[in-house]
Each structure stands twice: as C-alpha cells, then as structure tokens.
C-alpha cells in the first residue's frame, strides 16, 4: 500500500516536471500587440477565501480607469481575472491557461501565499513579470527572483513595528501573543520577539492556535492567567472573532493588537458584533475614508464604475498592487518588451500611491517594510495612530 502510494507520487512528480519542461520549451504567445497589453490575476471568487478575492476585482478598477484615460502609449489593458478558489492546484491550472492560451504579458496581485508559491517558479521559467503578490512571504523575494516584485510588507516587519508601538507608546509591560501555527503567525511571533529583545523584554505568554480550531477557551484562559495587558493576535478573521467573543465571556479585557490582515474594520466590526471597536492593527494602505487626492479619485471612480463593490481595504489594495505595474508600463514607453519592463521596475525609488513608499533595485525586490498603525473607532471608523513607519530591525535590507 505504502509502496503504491509512493509510486503514484513519484510518477505524478515526474509527469509534472515533464509537462513543465516541455512547456518551457514551446514558444509562448506574445504578451502584447499594437493595441493591447494582456495582464492576468488569480484570486478566490468562490469558496472559503472568497472575501479576499476582492483584491483581484480592485485591480480591474484601476485598469478600467487607465483604459478610460486612453490606455498606455496607445495600448489598452486587457485584463484576465481567474478564480482559483484559493487552491494551489487550481492556481497552476488557471495561470498556465492564461500564459499559454491567452498570452498574458504580466501578472499582478494574486491572493495567497501557497497559491503564489505554486506558480512562482513556472512564471520565472517563462520570463513572465509578476508584480505585487497579495501575500507577505519572504520566499517571494529571498532569494531574489528577477521577475517577481513584492510590495506587501512582511509580517515579521509589521509585527516588529507593532511591538515597538506597544512598548513605546502604549507603555505596556506585560505583552502576550496568540498566533496561528503557520508561516503567517510564526513570522509575526519572530518579529515581536526580535523587537522585545532590544528592550530586554519577553512575552508573558505565546499561545499557538491551529487555523481550523473553533474553541479557544483554554488559550484565552492561559493569556488571562499570564496577566497580559496587551495581546497581539496573528490569526484569521474567524479566529479573531472567536478570540474576542471568548475573552469577553471570560471577563478578559486587554488591548488587542493585530496585523493588517484584519484591518478591514467594517467587516471585522460586523462579524464580531461590535467587539472590534478599540482594536489596533497595522495597515498596508491608506484608510478607506482618506482624503488624499489619489484616494478620492479612486473612490469616486469606484462609485461610478463598480457601485456594487464595497469600498473595503482589500478591494482597493488591488489598486495599490497594480499601480506600480501601470507606472512601469508608462515609463517604458511605446517600445515594450519584458526586459524594458524589468528595467523600469528595477529603478523604482520612493514610489508611492495609496500604500507605502516602494523601492526596487536589481538586487532587492522586497519593495517596502512600512506600515501605518490604525485603531478601530466607534462604528468601525478608522483612527490614525501612527503614519508610515519602517522597521529599523529588518534584516533583509542589510
């Protein structure tokens, strides 16, 4: 039985390698012509991760705006959005279809760490440029992948900045942490510990939870018993709601702090029945009610072109992720080629739209380590606590 399983797996692996190899040899359709540039993105539109899929629809809004304004150097953007249901096997299928059948020139965004990992090498092997994966994973840029440009701040950097804020501004001595037992949670834990070490402090409790768990009573009691005054939670939206409900029931009221993944306050406020008020989170783009000229422009365009969409952080993150690609295509000019696009992207210096400042060089493709710190106010409003701040401890910059 065991032998049979192994055989099947190795056979499958061999077949996969063969298919990928044979495709890499075949000539791909050109990614653009005189009239259009083809750009693709995957993102869950159905299934459990569908709420994050609005990223992919947000990018579409930007391309619609660009096309309305006449396109880029005479070329319109043709956008392909594919639903991969947050399933890496599906991601591989839709990406291959876009590359080999539709002739996509570049990818933008793409929700998910595991989904991106599944196609990262395939895209690089086919020299397809991929800008701004919609996930923070250091393996996207370390080691350097010449075709992949990331701007999502790493969870570790964000956690480090949040920990600094907790110690210096909130002045809490007893800090606890609840983290999801995977790369997301562990990266966050690492960042917090690294920062606390500089103050010669340590966490009073570090409690892991499995992504699928639904009962957190014992974990919350551990945190309560530790006397933590501030608790960082690097967990999923559902887990965060369970955490707050359980803590409220058990009479535990610390200051909750979380990552940008939970910065969609209207959603979190709604699904937690209002318990989200007072929670502090990081943020990787301006708040939805920001009055900056660019945010106002995008918000008005969204009202006009996609009135059915909620103006949530993940929706307009799709715009922020696509901005650098549009900018690079503009900088390249009429003589478009993959090499020219790479050259343009590699020269980004302090480029900023509605997110943090982005810097890309030939040697460094992790574009930023900046986050803002916000707090959920009454009625799911956004209160700015700290503007863009970089992580002075980030090791990858050195």
């Amino acid at each position: 039985m065991k032998f049979g399983k192994k055989m099947v797996i190795s056979l499958f692996a061999a077949l996969t390698v063969l298919t990928v190899a044979s495709i890499a040899q075949a000539a791909l359709p050109a990614g653009f012509d005189d009239n259009e540039i083809r750009i693709g993105q995957w993102g869950p539109q159905t299934g459990p991760a569908a709420p994050w899929g609005s990223v992919a629809r947000g990018s579409k809004l930007l391309f619609d705006i660009v096309n309305e304004e006449g396109g880029i150097h005479g070329r319109k953007i043709k956008y392909f959005l594919r639903d991969d249901m947050y399933n890496p096997a599906q991601t591989v299928a839709v990406v291959k279809e876009l590359v080999e059948r539709q002739g996509v020139f570049a990818f933008v965004g793409g929700v998910g760490s595991a989904t991106g990992m599944a196609v990262k090498d395939y895209l690089a092997a086919n020299k397809i440029v991929w800008v701004s994966p919609s996930a923070a994973d250091k393996e996207f840029t370390q080691p350097l992948n010449p075709y992949l440009f990331a701007q999502y701040p790493l969870y570790k950097d964000e956690a480090s900045i949040l920990a600094k804020y907790i110690v210096e501004k909130l002045k809490t001595k007893k800090i606890g942490m609840l983290y999801q037992n995977d790369a997301y949670g562990k990266d966050g834990l690492e960042g917090v510990k690294e920062r606390l070490a500089t103050y010669k402090m340590s966490l009073v409790a570090e409690i892991p939870v499995e992504p699928t768990e639904k009962d957190f009573a014992s974990q919350i009691l551990r945190l309560k018993n530790s006397g933590a005054e501030t608790v960082l939670m690097y967990v999923s939206p559902t887990a965060a709601v369970i955490t707050l409900k359980t803590a409220a029931n058990l009479g535990f009221k610390p200051q909750w702090v979380s990552s940008n993944t939970l910065s969609d306050y209207p959603l979190m406020f709604k699904i937690s029945g209002g318990l989200w008020e007072g929670v502090i989170t990081g943020a990787f783009s301006e708040s939805p009610d920001s009055k900056s000229p660019l945010m106002t422009k995008y918000r008005d365009a969204a009202k006009r072109l996609t009135p059915q969409e909620r103006w949530g952080v993940f929706y307009y993150a799709g715009i922020a992720f696509a901005d650098p690609l549009v900018e690079a295509l503009k900088r390249v000019g009429r003589n478009l080629s993959t090499d020219a696009l790479l050259k343009a992207l590699n020269s980004f210096k302090d480029y900023q739209t509605i997110g943090p400042k982005v810097n890309w060089t030939e040697k460094q493709h992790q574009g930023t380590d900046s986050v803002q710190i916000l707090k959920c106010g009454p009625g799911a409003s956004y209160i700015m606590l700290q503007d863009w701040m970089t992580n002075d401890l980030a090791t990858w910059k050195k």
């Binding site: 459990p48 569908a50 709420p51 499995e210 699928t212 014992s218 974990q219 559902t238 959603l267 699904i271």
Partner: protein, 291 residues
C-alpha cells in the same frame, strides 16, 4: 491553574459536541450510515435562521421555530432524494452519497449567502455572567447549552423507550427485514430519523455559530470533533456520546491549557488509545456485524 473555569468551559463545549454527536448517532443507529453531510445540514439550517433574523427581521423565537421545521424537512428531503433512490446500496456507497450532499449544501450556501463570515448571535446577553465560585465564570451560552442538551436527551430517552415510533426505530436498527415483516414501515422510520437528526444538528449548529462566525465552512471542524466524540461514546448509545462529548471537551481544555499546540490533536490521540482497548467505543453494547 483556573481549574473551575477550565471545567466549566470544557463541559460546555463538550455538551455542544455531545449534542451534535447525538444527531450523528440517530442516523447511525437506524441505518448504520455515518452522515458526513450532518455538519453542512446544520450549517444550512443556521443560515436559514440567520436569513430570517437579518433579512425579514422577525423575532428570534419565530425564526427558531421556522428553522426547526425547515431543518426537519431538509433531513427528510435529503434522505428521500439522495439515499432512498440508491439501488442495493452498500454502507460505503451511502456514505459517499452523504459526502456528495455535503458538497452540494456547501456550494448552495456559498451561492446564496456568500463566503464572507456573518455575525450570528443567540438572544443571550453576553455581558451577563454568573460567578458561583470565585474564578469560575458561567456564561449564558454555557447555561443554555446545558439546558438544551439535557432537555433533548430527556426527550430522546422517553421517545426511544416509551413511544411506539421509538421502539419501531430501534427495531429497524436491530433488524430491518424482521422489522418490515412485523409491519413497521422502515422507510418512514428512516425519514423520521433523518428529520430528527437534522433538527438536533441545527440546534447545535446555532450554538456553534454564535460562538464563532457563520460561514459555509464553519461546521467542518465541529463535525469532526462531534464525530470523534460519537466514536468515543460508541456510536450507538446516546448517553454514551454525551459522555464522549464531555470527555472530549474536558481533555481538550485541560491539555490545551498546558500544551496549547497539542490541543487540536490530544483528544484524537485519546480516542485512538480507547479504540485500541475497546474497539467499539466506551459505551457500545453491540458490535457484532449482522450478516
């Protein structure tokens, strides 16, 4: 160690697992089929309650009654539409059919209500808690779970022991053909079992949803735990699964307090150990496969 608090929390979530496991056991008792759609049936019924509460904004008691009626119909319908038409079904075949029903319900819920999490609450004031002993907080949620689980247990006990239909159901489980010869309409018995099971599942589903969030996948994990509790209790005995659920909740909470990373698996390890010693569970009376 907050012993009292862990005890209360463990028993409360355990009662919830036990309640849901009862739903699994009722179907298993009559037809020896493990219904893998059980969790999603409960999920779907909870969504119906959510829909009535938020879209029509009817009072909770009315939404509850309608949901109960709906859940019974859902159970009967799934049995009638999916399991009954199967010709000469094997147990495995039936289980696969329930898996299909699970996928179908999840897809339908995702299509109707979307994948985004929803807020679901029972009319229990979360800010009112009781502290009978210092350091031991009992919430309204826990009290409601204990009360509802006890009432349902009592009703089931009376039903299976003293009513004609209950006896007919037990007879069908013991020997379908003999029961048929004795004039029991076994097909109707199956329908009723599915309806009952769906109803109890829906009640447990609403308890789970109010503790977390409501989304199409929210019952997958509780189902696994409830199923494990049912196996621990012996799959056949209703008091057994309640005790199984309680044990499960207590083990999880006490181990989870000291070794949080072991929390999700420790109960399963205990179950494997128990099954090594007592292959048919702690409280099963019958384990000889009928020929």
């Amino acid at each position: 160690m907050p012993f009292g608090q862990l005890l209360v929390e463990g028993l409360a979530i355990g009662a919830c697992y036990g309640l849901f496991a009862t739903a699994v056991v009722i179907v298993y008792k009559t037809s020896e089929v493990v219904n893998f759609a059980q969790g999603e049936m409960a999920m779907f019924s909870s969504f119906v309650a959510f829909h009535i509460l938020t879209v029509y904004q009817w009072p909770f008691w009315l939404a509850f009654v309608i949901t109960m009626v709906f859940s019974i119909l859902l159970g009967v319908l799934i049995e009638y539409l999916f399991l009954r038409p199967a010709k000469h079904p094997s147990i495995l075949g039936m289980i696969v059919i329930t898996l299909g029903a699970e996928m179908l319900l999840m897809g339908l819920a995702g299509w109707k209500w979307g994948a985004e999490q929803k807020f679901f609450s029972l009319p229990l004031n979360p800010s009112v808690t009781y502290e009978p002993v210092k350091g031991m907080i009992v919430t309204n949620w826990a009290i409601a779970v204990f009360a509802v689980a006890s009432v349902i247990m009592l009703l089931l006990y009376v039903f299976f022991k003293y009513t004609k239909l209950g006896v007919a159901m037990r007879a069908t489980q013991q020997n379908k053909h003999a029961a048929k010869i004795m004039g029991i309409r076994t097909e109707r018995v199956f329908s009723i079992a599915w309806g009952f099971s769906s109803l109890i599942g829906a009640v447990a589903g609403m308890f789970f949803a109010s503790r977390a969030t409501l989304d199409p996948a929210f019952m997958m994990e509780p189902f696994l735990r409830a199923f494990a509790a049912a196996v621990l209790g012996g799959l056949m005995s209703i008091p057994g699964v309640i005790i199984g659920g309680g044990l499960m909740g207590l083990i999880e909470n006490f181990f989870g307090f000291y070794w949080p990373s072991w929390k999700p698996i420790v109960a399963f390890i205990v179950i494997i150990l128990v099954l090594c010693v007592r292959p048919s569970g702690l409280f099963a009376k019958h384990y000889v496969k009928k020929v």
